[in-house]
């Protein structure tokens, strides 16, 4: 006669799987819920990972203690149900707390570290409760099977690991695009509450307690009642929260702004595609136009398309510039074409990482201009600033041609911009860094121009561009912004910086972006008398 396993031994791996799935999905949800406020660079991801894993660790410890050393199966099941109820209710509250916590903790510093910590702490209570479930499930397994069966314990551990995979993959690939970050957090909350209802030993619990068990359902329903919370995304994708808003220029033109998470990325003018209202875009345009002159069939590669404002402007030139846009996010590319009016036969968009797109193209000089615009306010893709990547760009650039890089860095330090420029100097004969004082002391754009031919480079001491700005009352006005040019050596000397060459193996970009140097400024040797 074959011994049938106890029903709980079948249920336990399933509920363990679901709980692990919910915990990992919550990690992704909190990063995305906070992204419109603090971005989703290294700091928010690290904080979320730490919060979730520390919560799970604490929960694991509590899970070993709960109910005492000789806890009965009944007591362990009730403990498990209570933990999941708590996790569910806490998760349901997270979307409502994101905006108030960010506003309360945001300071002048960039990025707002306190806000990042506060946001990640929101998922900590749920994760403590969820972490409690694995050891309790293991103990239940030992109790029910009446002894240690390593095979059964392994099934639970494996269910937990596979649940984590499913949680990350489902959230990243499917749920964020379909239900959004708020919907994801609420779905997780309901999943945990459902798990609590499943594991509760209903037939062994008195009627008043059974009714009490419905309380989490009521609380979660109340918390889920508000349909709109936090910043409203135009659309949410695998990578970003796209926000689109309209402004009216001083001359009455319709301007459309595309923001990706926390950062303004593009600003397009519906009536006049060639008018570039952002300071960096206007400067890039001036530098690029020189490289297009003289080319019968001018071509550009834009890495990080966003709203494709520059390719749209260049498509209006005579002869029109044919731009290849490498955009990681399919939905961003679609919104650029639909909402930012960048639907042109002269713009060809390839969906993929910039480096992968570059290596998929023919290995010959194809472009007069390569524009690198894939940086965010608080993150830099390390593989797109390395010496090896620059060499690949150089192989695809005509002579004369220019590689323009829009680096977002701290005005006060400029460590990242200086090292990106120094790295480019390893490959290109002339490298200039263009800086403006107009953005103040916080994050600023630095445009780096790497020319393949010294004789053809555009190198005035400064250039002035017209830009559109708006105040809190949303009234737009035009002002002039002055860009000043520095060679790498000038920048290093005037700012007292040291630079490093970034490689595929070693590119400490997050540290540089945080304003921390990774090398010592060489001391000046005293001149011998």
């Amino acid at each position: 006669m074959s011994a049938r396993p106890h029903p709980s031994l079948i249920i336990l791996p399933v509920v363990t799987f679901c709980s692990a799935m919910a915990a990992l999905a919550l990690e992704i949800a909190i990063v995305r819920l906070g992204a419109p406020y603090v971005g989703q660079a290294l700091a928010p991801w690290s904080a979320a990972i730490v919060s979730v894993l520390l919560g799970l660790a604490l929960g694991h410890m509590l899970g070993g203690l709960v109910g005492g050393a000789q806890a009965s199966v009944h007591r362990l099941r009730v403990s498990l149900a209570l933990a999941w109820f708590f996790a569910g209710v806490a998760a349901a509250a997270v979307p409502l707390l994101v905006a108030p916590v960010t506003e309360a903790l945001s300071g002048d510093q960039e990025p707002a570290r306190l806000a990042v910590l506060g946001l990640s702490a929101l998922v900590f209570p749920s994760c403590v409760a969820a972490g409690l479930s694995l050891p309790v499930a293991l103990r239940l397994c030992v109790k029910i099977a009446d002894g240690v069966r390593p095979g059964r314990l392994a099934v639970l551990l494996a269910a937990s690991a596979i649940g984590s995979v499913a949680g990350s993959a489902l959230s990243g690939f499917v749920l964020l695009e379909t239900v959004g970050a708020v919907g994801l957090a609420r779905g997780i909350a309901w999943l945990w509450i459902a798990l609590g209802l499943v594991i509760l030993p209903w037939h062994e619990v008195r009627l008043p307690l059974r009714l009490l068990a419905l309380l989490p359902v009521v609380i979660a329903a109340l918390l889920s009642f508000r349909s709109h919370v936090g910043k409203a995304c135009w659309t949410e994708t695998r990578y970003t929260c796209i926000q689109i808003s309209d402004k009216t220029a001083q001359n009455g033109d319709l301007l459309r702004v595309m923001a990706l998470d926390e950062g303004l990325h593009s600003l397009s003018d519906r009536e006049h595609p060639d008018r570039l209202h952002l300071a960096y875009a206007a400067l890039v345009d001036k530098l690029a136009r020189l490289a297009f002159v003289g080319s019968a069939t001018p071509r550009a590669l834009v890495i990080g398309g966003g709203g494709a404002t520059l390719p749209r402007a260049w498509a209006q030139m005579q002869p029109p510039v044919r731009s290849t846009v490498a955009e990681l996010d399919r939905r961003v590319a679609a919104e650029a074409a639909d909402m930012m009016w960048a639907d042109s036969p002269n713009i060809r968009t390839i969906i993929g990482d910039g480096r992968a797109v570059l290596r998929s193209l023919k290995h010959e000089p194809l472009f007069d201009v390569v524009l690198m615009d894939a940086y965010r306010s608080h993150s830099v893709p390390a593989h797109l600033v390395s010496r090896e990547f620059n060499a690949e760009v150089e192989r695809h650039l005509t002579k004369p041609g220019v590689f323009l890089s829009n680096v977002i860095d701290r005005y006060a330090s400029l460590h990242l911009a200086a090292s990106v420029a120094a790295t480019l100097r390893q490959t290109f004969p002339v490298v200039d860094v263009w800086i403006t004082d107009a953005d103040g002391a916080g994050m600023t754009n630095a445009v780096i121009a790497a020319w393949s031919d010294v004789a053809q480079a555009l190198r005035p001491q400064q250039m002035t561009v017209d830009v559109t700005r708006w105040n809190a009352g949303e009234t737009t006005h035009t002002e002039q912004v002055i860009w000043r040019r520095f060679s790498v050596d000038e920048l290093v000397q005037t700012r007292g910086l040291c630079t490093v060459v970034l490689t595929d193996d070693w590119a400490p970009v997050d540290r540089l972006l945080a304003g921390r140097s990774v090398c010592a400024v060489p001391a000046k040797k005293p001149v011998a008398p």
């Binding site: 660790a57 203690l65 390593p150 551990l157 690991a161 400490p508």
Partner: protein, 208 residues
């Protein structure tokens, strides 16, 4: 002995998460950094880990605690060796899989997902072996089970943070991977030492 097992659990969890993050940096120059590459790495690692824990559980059945620890040590040392050689294989792997069409999703997923599998599997093997050893040594103490899980999670946190904030910046990607391999190797030595000690004790108990 209990502290040794907890330390081994934390160290191997440290190595696992740190190696996973290093893989993303190793893969990026070849296949870029996208949801496809991240998900392939995370999914491959966790699937390998799950498979490892399942097989590790089977390996722990019906043998002495000393042999359980010995098997965990072997898993750790094989994981260490594999972690050390993965970076040097990536160029050849790129030529085989990615080079013909670097943007095809299945190639990207295969390229990013396969290299972490053996390492994740080996480190996964050790987890149930260590848990079993702990349960047997403490006679099924709930606190001990909780502590093993907690040390695993704490090791993971430290592994992720140390890799992102320190190792990559100081030693570069390859240097960081080698340091992970060295740490896993040291964990194997620790486990072997404990197994050796337990073997002596178990022998004495049997003789008595």
């Amino acid at each position: 002995m209990v502290i040794g097992i907890l330390a081994a659990e934390a160290l191997l969890a440290f190595c696992t998460l740190a190696f996973e993050l290093a893989m993303a940096r190793l893969i990026a120059p070849h296949a870029g950094m996208s949801t496809d590459t991240w998900t392939a790495i995370i999914a491959a690692f966790l699937v390998a880990w799950a498979l490892g824990t399942f097989v590790g559980g089977r390996m722990a059945e019906g043998i002495s605690v000393a042999r359980v620890l010995c098997r965990a040590a072997i898993a750790a040392v094989v994981g260490a060796v594999l972690a050390a050689i993965v970076p040097s294989l990536l160029n050849a792997w790129d030529q085989m899989v990615l080079d013909p069409a670097p943007l095809e999703v299945w190639r990207v997923v295969l390229f990013a997902g396969l290299p972490p599998l053996p390492v994740g599997f080996c480190f996964g093997l050790a987890a149930p072996l260590l848990l079993t050893a702990m349960v047997r040594l403490t006679k099924g103490s709930g606190v001990a089970i909780g502590l093993v899980n907690a040390m695993g999670a704490a090791g993971s946190v430290l592994g992720a943070l140390t890799m992102l904030w320190l190792l990559l910046d100081v030693w570069g990607t390859r240097g960081a991977v080698l340091s992970i391999a060295a740490l896993a190797g040291a964990t194997a030595v620790l486990l072997l030492g404990m197994a050796w000690r337990l073997r002596g004790q178990e022998g004495q108990e049997e003789a008595a």
